[in-house]
């Protein structure tokens, strides 16, 4: 069976589990799933991180959780469990014209967006409020829209910020229809934190350099547009493993190592 089908099944499982209303909100599962969503079972690490930043306290628990998840799996949870990533994957399947941003402009855009998002994340220390959450598109989709739609008392409090949040969501929805995972690729600080562990993490991609003919099929299917044959453990990789399915010669391998390494 192709890994892509297994991944869709795993993503569906996590979407249902993380929105099953189970009482697990003391735990920050390392994916973007807003804890204000009426169905959310776990907490969002970015929301929890900003809570401690806003109180001007060091977030030991959240940092520990993210670090352990990063060292063990790197960006694995982004590719296989994140509900907002799954939502973008589904949007990309809509039959429309697709666009590919060229590498240089994409990198510049990524740097600009990520810098802004990380500034918002740490801006919680100065502003004493979760700044990133105010613009988070996952929060808009999973919490703002359903709660405001069902609570008449909250509808009276709608202002510019709500519409700005909707505009951010709409922008990424439109982009997700025409290009692969735009939020993960350009703006997600959680993905940036987790994927930063890729060069060291237990989940490792390896390319058989003797067999690889650099046909670039792996780069073409990669949502992050990574040249897998050059940097299999790139700090941008979300470990979706689409490259494994795309490589006709089977020259890309994934393995989990904890005690081995060069």
């Amino acid at each position: 069976m192709k890994l892509g089908r297994i991944r869709t099944g795993v993503q569906t499982f996590w979407l249902l589990f993380l929105n099953s209303t189970l009482p697990l909100k003391f735990f920050d599962f390392p994916v973007l799933n807003c804890y204000s969503c009426p169905l959310a079972a776990t907490s969002c690490p970015l929301g929890a991180l900003q809570h401690f930043f806003a109180l001007r306290r060091l977030p030991f628990y959240v940092a520990g959780e993210l670090g352990v998840a990063g060292v063990l799996g790197g960006g694995l949870s982004c590719g296989w469990a994140c509900p907002f990533g799954f939502f973008q994957d589904a949007l990309y399947k809509l039959p429309t014209k697709k666009f590919k941003l060229d590498f240089k402009s994409a990198e510049a855009l990524r740097f600009m967006f990520l810098a802004l998002m990380i500034l918002l994340l740490f801006g919680a220390v100065l502003a004493r409020t979760p700044l990133f959450c105010k613009l988070c598109p996952a929060g808009a989709l999973e919490a703002a829209i359903p709660i405001v739609a069902t609570e008449a008392s909250l509808r009276r409090r709608i202002g510019m910020l709500f519409y700005l949040k909707l505009a951010v969501l709409l922008t990424f929805v439109v982009l997700a229809v025409v290009s692969k995972r735009p939020f993960c690729r350009f703006a997600c600080p959680l993905g940036a934190i987790l994927s930063a562990f890729n060069p060291l993490s237990g989940v490792r991609l390896e390319v058989d350099e003797l067999g690889c003919v650099r046909c670039e099929r792996c780069e073409a299917v990669c949502p992050m547009r990574i040249k897998i044959y050059e940097t299999p453990n790139s700090t941008r990789c979300i470990r979706c493993l689409k490259c494994l399915d795309a490589c006709e010669g089977g020259h890309i391998h994934v393995r989990f190592e904890l005690t081995q390494g060069t």
């Binding site: 003391f26 804890y35 204000s36 929301g47 929890a48 628990y61 520990g64 959450c133 909250l154 409090r157």
Partner: protein
Amino acid sequence: MRRRAALRFLILAVFLALLAHGVFSGEPAEVLRNARVLCLSCLGL
């Protein structure tokens, strides 16, 4: 044990220590309390 594996274990130990410190400081309960409050920022209100 090779260098990457040793570094991985070292970093894992650091983060496990942070996690343990957070757990014993009662941070999971605070995360739970925070998550139960309807976050108006998350709603954009």
